[in-house]
């Protein structure tokens, strides 16, 4: 029928019509407009994914915080505590203290150290502590006597009842001063520090300058006598039986690192003389205990997420049916089936993404609220915070697959009639 000229024309014209398009910016604005058409419904649809993702983040965060926290409850002291042992003195035959006089200050420079101090128990062959107070001699033979640097009193967390603790001055001048435990003071008949009561340790006079109630980390300080380290060295020499050691109070989580760094920081000339150690952590044990509980909660969060996905799928499907006329119109305006499908898929993915974003934010807020309320340290893997909105988007994407397919296979002529 057609002439050669016509068939040539036909071919040329065929190529003349550029394919219809849905560019990315247009896809974005069309999908957003679709969501904002019914903002209330979109918000309600968000709710499911929001709750799912939000509870997921909260549960993971609280579980992480709690497993850190349970460990902390049991080991609140150990978790913030490191030791440095005098390995050199332990191996040498002659008594020695390998900590320099300024060890407290050196250790204090390490990041994460709250307080640090050196101490050792002083042993006497045949000696004791006695006092003249209230006109009679009281003697307490078996009292533990501890030589300590001023930093140790802070590191050990002693509670002062009255008087004062000894300080750098007493230490520097090797003063004969002593701090007594409350019960010791009572046993020795010292009820008041007025008049500067004196005690005798191994026959040496000491002025009692402070009375302490208890010590969190070194209980012996609360039930014994503590004297400056330099004074003990001057009077009794370096410890022979039990070596000096350093007690370090660290910030939470720093103990291990501090223990590693301390020998170098304190004895840069010969770090091998000292040996750092952090208290063994019981967190691992607690983590095992709480895993089964976490699994249960995570299953619940997963159910919430599935419910959210069903919500998105349902809303998107309703939207597809409801907007059949719009779909028909778009097809008439040149949209290809895939343009329709991708638009609805983008809408459902955006719903999931927004739900995930809001959910993750609320989850973090909930974790913070709970941990602040309980005076806990919030622990949350930052990867969770990043993964949560992505998970929401994936949920939205999956939920949108079927409705998008339905939308894309809708016949334009049928769709326009609705």
């Amino acid at each position: 029928m057609g002439t050669p000229v016509r068939s040539l024309t036909r071919r040329r014209l065929r190529g003349d019509v550029p394919p219809s398009q849905l560019r990315l910016p247009d896809l974005g604005s069309e999908a957003l407009a679709g969501l904002l058409q019914r903002p209330g419904r979109s918000a309600l649809t968000l709710l499911g994914v929001m709750l799912g993702i939000g509870s997921f983040v909260t549960i993971v965060g609280i579980a992480q915080t709690a497993s850190g926290q349970i460990g902390k409850q049991f080991n609140v002291l150990q978790a913030t505590q490191a030791y440095v042992f005098d390995a050199g003195a332990a191996q040498s035959r002659t008594p020695a203290v390998d900590f320099p006089p300024d060890a407290d200050a050196l250790a204090g420079r390490i990041h994460g150290v709250v307080a640090a101090g050196v101490y050792w128990p002083v042993h006497f062959k045949q000696a004791g502590v006695s006092a003249y107070a209230s006109g009679f001699l009281a003697s307490q033979r078996a009292l533990p006597v501890t030589a300590a640097s001023p930093g140790l009193l802070a590191a050990a967390g002693v509670k002062l009842v009255s008087g004062t603790l000894f300080n750098q001055f007493h230490e520097a001048h090797a003063q004969n001063v002593a701090v007594l435990g409350e019960s010791v003071a009572a046993g020795l008949g010292i009820t008041s520090l007025e008049g500067q009561p004196a005690i005798f340790i191994d026959g040496q006079p000491f002025t009692v300058i402070g009375i302490v109630a208890s010590s969190q980390r070194l209980p012996q300080l609360g039930v014994g006598v503590t004297v400056p380290e330099s004074t003990a060295l001057r009077l009794w020499g370096p410890p022979a039986q039990e070596q000096a050691q350093m007690l370090i109070h660290t910030t939470l989580g720093a103990a291990k690192v501090v223990a590693e760094q301390a020998p170098v920081a304190i004895r840069p000339d010969n770090p091998t003389l000292l040996k750092g150690a952090a208290a063994p952590s019981a967190a691992q044990l607690q983590r095992n205990v709480s895993t089964s509980l976490n699994t249960l909660f995570l299953i619940l969060a997963g159910i919430a997420l599935v419910v959210g996905a069903v919500g998105i799928a349902n809303t998107t499907l309703v939207a597809v049916l409801e907007r059949a006329g719009e779909i028909g119109l778009r097809r008439a305006l040149g949209a290809r089936p895939r343009h329709i499908g991708i638009q609805f898929l983008t809408e459902s993915t955006a719903l999931g993404l927004f739900g995930g974003l809001i959910g993750a934010s609320l989850g973090v807020a909930a974790i913070l609220a709970i941990t602040i309320d309980r005076h806990w340290t919030a622990l949350l893997d930052p990867r969770i915070v990043v993964a949560a909105p992505v998970a929401g988007a994936v949920v939205g994407l999956l939920a949108g697959l079927y409705p998008a397919l339905r939308a894309s296979v809708l016949e334009p002529a049928d769709a326009l009639r609705r």
């Binding site: 036909r10 219809s20 069309e30 097809r331 305006l333 040149g334 002529a413």
Partner: protein, 245 residues
Amino acid sequence: MTGGRARGPAVEPVIRLSSVAYTYRGPPPVHALKPTNLVICRGEHVAITGPSGSGKSTLLNLLGLLDKPTHGTLEIDGIDVGAAPERERAAVRAHRIGFVFQSFHLLPYRTSIENVMLAQVYADQPRRRRRAAAMAALAQVGLADRADALPTALSGGERQRVAIARALVNHPSLLMCDEPTGNLDTATTNELTDLLESLHREGATLVVITHNPAVAGRAQRQIAIRDGRLTGHPPDGDTRALPDA
């Protein structure tokens, strides 16, 4: 039926149907459109009339590439689009056909100009130029001052004019109007028919499907359809009336 071609490029066909038929698969199969030949040339104003169930909508869907003929070949601008893949048919719809529907099909949450601009999305018009082109199309239908009004704030006639602006914005070869006045009162119908006529005078090719004799009477050529057959005069474009201005 080959008379259109003999007249040369001045009456270049926009639509050519050769033995086009459409059968709804049964059971029982319904022959909605019996094999039909039809040529509509550039610049023509054609009315297709017929009672409901006559095959009018089927013909419109075929002419508008919203449906594929089950038999025959359908060409638009010389492009055989009857059996072409959807990608190609969508491209022709986007660039060569403008639709006007009875129920307007305006998106309710978008202003007039935004509704017009929707047509430019799929025709891949550069974003920067869309607003100006849409404004020009609205001006063409006399609605430049209602560009930022939502459809709910427009009268029926105004809504249909927005729809016409949307159909015009990509400068199509063919304006396909499906009962454009079906939802309008008499006075508005007259206004709208005047607008369609003026568009025709400016060179648009119009196919208007209607059951309103007054609207059909404005066309240069009336084609009646009954029981899936074109029965009007002339049935197949043989003695088509020449455009007269």
